[in-house]
């Protein structure tokens, strides 16, 4: 094949790919004082349309013609700026994860911002993030009954720590550190609203810091976080649930 012709084809293809994508750019700032939120992960997730049900008995929806799943992320700079390009056109749900500052992800605590991406255009999306405080749960496991790591997503958690709020919404906290006989879980939570700390395990018995046993079918501990002050709890692991009882759950 004529190499000049091949180069022309490749260039045309590359140009076509560039022209068919777009981008999103803007800032992430505090909803209270407008200060920038640096170091936050901004997640862009494309919403999709599905084909009609074909009448077969399986119900996995098929993507409509031209549709594509696409998700990517960027990190905000010192001024809270975020930008991404190379996005297939469409409507994007945009979430934020701020690991170093307790700002709330609007996808979890509010209504996810949307951005419409058109070919060869950059959509402006400024996000005002609501500040919260950290919920910090310390698990004292002096007997070492809880695993300190999981081998994968099918190595299911032996302890679930999270928050119930509103009319049934639930968000799990991630384990943030593991030490000798101690594990901690943390997550950003809003202030001034009623929340319930949720703890449940199929494997171990739990008690609160005063030594009161927690219900084995899940314990809700009400609290309301205050602005500027992290909400801290200490929970003790007091023993193993017998294997037969674990299996019966």
């Amino acid at each position: 094949m004529n190499l000049r012709f091949l180069s022309a084809i490749l260039l045309a293809g590359a140009w076509s790919a560039i022209a068919q994508t777009g981008g999103i750019s803007g800032t992430v700032t505090s909803a209270v004082d407008g200060s920038p939120v640096p170091g936050a992960t901004v997640i862009y997730h494309r919403l999709v349309n599905f084909l009609p049900n074909t009448g077969s008995s399986t119900s996995n929806p098929q993507l409509a013609p031209g549709e594509v799943y696409f998700s990517t992320s960027s990190t905000t700079d010192a001024k809270g700026g975020h930008s991404v390009d190379g996005l297939p056109p469409g409507t994007y749900q945009v979430c934020i994860n701020s690991p170093n500052l307790p700002f709330l992800d609007p996808c979890k605590w509010g209504e996810a911002p949307l951005a419409i991406v058109a070919p060869a255009q950059i959509s402006l999306l400024n996000i005002a993030a609501a500040p919260g405080v950290y919920l910090q749960v310390t698990i004292n496991d002096v007997q070492g009954l809880l695993p300190t790591s999981e081998s994968g997503l099918l190595d299911f958690p032996h302890l679930t720590v999270g928050v119930y709020f509103g009319s049934g919404a639930f968000l799990a906290a991630r384990r943030s550190s593991v030490g000798t006989g101690i594990q901690t879980y943390s997550m950003a939570v809003p202030t001034g609203v009623p929340l319930n700390l949720w703890l449940i395990s199929r494997y171990v018995y739990l008690s609160d810091s005063a030594g009161n046993a927690l219900a084995t079918n899940g314990a809700k501990i009400p609290f309301t976080a205050s602005a500027g002050t992290n909400s801290a709890f200490t929970i003790n692991v007091t023993g193993s649930i017998p294997a037969a009882a674990q299996a019966a759950r």
């Binding site: 009609p52 119900s59 049934g168 919404a169």
Partner: protein
């Protein structure tokens, strides 16, 4: 009455230990008696020529299947009138006004079990039909109910792209997208909107990451207590067949809601543990239905939610999913269901490649963790119609090698072994729906337009797969009253042919 095919060729048995069951699809329990003619239910009469009643029709079908070494059946039942099954009354009103199950319906279910028992078929897998996704008329609660968005966080947020009007069916613990909706998220500009909306009517609001929290509660939901009362009635009827406490019918799986796709629609996890209709009864469906199974001395680990296998766009393609380095994206729905039950992560992985139609790779950073952990089920129910689909039709290619049935079967069933070994090595593998041995008259099967020899290729692929030798039940899909393909030939009793004269293609072996 047996309907023999014109020629028989001995088939290789399904690798032992294996059993053969069939899907009956919907059973019209409202009319399951000796006074209702099969003609009252459309095409049902064509499945049992000469039968004068619905009950006699099913009795003839059961005899036919028993003669083929079928040892169990799965059946759907509607709860508010869907396909002529109405255990509950006043659906669409507040759950406190809903009553049931009514005694006529319960008696008819008992008659159904009695007929199975008499035919020598002892295993059943009831499947609640919470919604109607296959075109059968079911009464809707109140359609087009305006949903008022919450005023401000932190209440459960509104899903991205939630339309201003949401439709509620009484059996669903969430809202669905109405047909009249023309939002760009559900009806692409320039496309046939009516066509798309019709298809999407059964899909919940699309929010891969947060649907469990953000999808609105259904104010017309029938309620968990009422649903559990129906479950209790079904289990009691099985337990008391043929006589009180005889347990002549074994409930070897209770499929609470079929084909949960919690990768794309995490709100479906409300069928497992509901967070939105908690006032209507015990919202922990795992715990409550396991409790009912225990009351009647059935295996509590057989409470299950079935999953569909995902076929790639390209033959023989496979990849690893977010669930682990030995977990195939072809069975990601099984991973997701066990995760939902065991308090793990569901939803669509972040940064997955979406390669060849599979959810390959990615990470869990945006996935949702379920609030309540339970022990693993004793059964893994995968619905698999191994084939490569024609992208222009959405159906299997109707001939090999394009369809690649045997090759696809070998891969997807083999992928199940790594799944079982990770989550519960002693769990039974239920191929809960798969290729029938039917002919729509156009040299394709009645389900999915697969090649005519798809069933035998399916077995060959299984026998060549890594999971061969694990305890397996094959349960081909046979929708007797309403085949997926509307061709006249599909109603023919000759299509109730899974193992005629023990010649296969689904020949079990212990």
């Amino acid at each position: 009455m047996l309907f023999l095919p014109t020629s028989l060729t001995a088939q290789t048995p399904i690798a032992a230990p294996s059993a053969l069951e069939v899907n009956l699809a919907f059973v019209p329990f409202d009319g399951y008696n000796t006074s209702t003619s099969p003609s009252a239910y459309g095409n049902l009469q064509n499945a049992c020529p000469g039968s004068t009643s619905v009950r006699a029709c099913y009795q003839s079908i059961f005899a036919n299947f028993h003669a083929q070494n079928v040892t169990g059946v799965r059946f759907f039942f509607g709860i508010c009138g869907g396909f002529h099954s109405t255990p509950l009354s006043n659906c669409g009103q507040n759950y406190t006004k809903v009553t049931g199950p009514n005694s006529t319906w319960t008696a008819n279910v008992a008659s159904f079990f009695s007929d199975l028992y008499s035919a020598g078929i002892r295993n059943v897998e009831p499947n609640i039909s919470h919604s109607d996704l296959v075109g059968i008329t079911a009464p809707q609660g109140t359609q087009g109910v305006q949903y008022a968005a919450p005023a401000a966080p932190p209440v459960p947020p509104v899903c991205s792209g939630t339309p201003s009007v949401v439709e509620y069916a009484p059996g669903l613990p969430y809202g669905t997208v109405p047909c009249t909706n023309t939002s760009p998220y559900y009806c692409p500009s320039g496309q046939n909107c009516a066509k798309y909306c019709q298809a999407n009517a059964g899909f919940p609001i699309d929010d891969h990451y947060h649907g469990y929290n953000c999808s609105p509660a259904n104010p017309y939901f029938v309620g968990w207590t009422n649903l559990n009362n129906v479950v209790n009635a079904v289990l009691a009827a099985a337990y008391n067949t043929p006589t009180s406490g005889a347990k002549g019918i074994i409930v070897d799986e209770f499929d609470v809601e079929q084909e949960l796709n919690m990768v794309q629609f995490p709100v479906l996890a409300r069928f497992v543990v509901d967070n939105a209709q908690t006032q209507t009864g015990n919202p922990d469906a795992v715990a409550s239905i396991r409790n009912y199974m225990s009351l009647y001395h059935y295996d509590t680990g057989r409470v299950a939610w079935s999953a569909t296998a995902t076929e790639p766009n390209t033959a023989n393609y496979d990849c690893i999913s977010v669930y682990g380095s030995n977990q195939s994206a072809r069975v990601i729905n099984l991973d997701s269901i066990f995760s939902a039950i065991e308090g793990g992560f569901i939803g669509q992985p972040h940064n997955d490649s979406g390669s060849q139609g599979l959810f390959c790779g990615g990470d869990d950073s945006t996935m949702f963790q379920m609030p309540v952990p339970h022990s693993a089920p004793d059964i893994a129910d995968l619905h698999a119609y191994p084939c490569i689909k024609n992208p222009s039709t959405g159906y299997c290619y109707s001939d090999d090698p394009d369809a690649n049935v045997e090759g696809e079967a070998k891969i997807v069933y083999g992928d199940v072994l790594a799944f079982l070994n990770t989550v519960n090595p002693s769990a039974v593998f239920m191929v809960g729906e798969t290729h029938s041995n039917s002919n729509n008259g156009q040299n394709e099967t009645c389900e999915g337009h697969a090649p005519l020899d798809a069933a035998s290729l399916n077995v060959a692929g299984y026998n060549a797969s890594l999971v061969a030798g694990h305890s397996v039940i094959f349960r081909p899909w046979i929708n007797i009253p309403d085949p997926s393909d509307g061709s006249t030939a599909c109603f023919d009793p000759a299509n109730q042919n899974v193992n005629q004269n023990n010649q296969g293609p689904y020949l079990p072996k212990q």
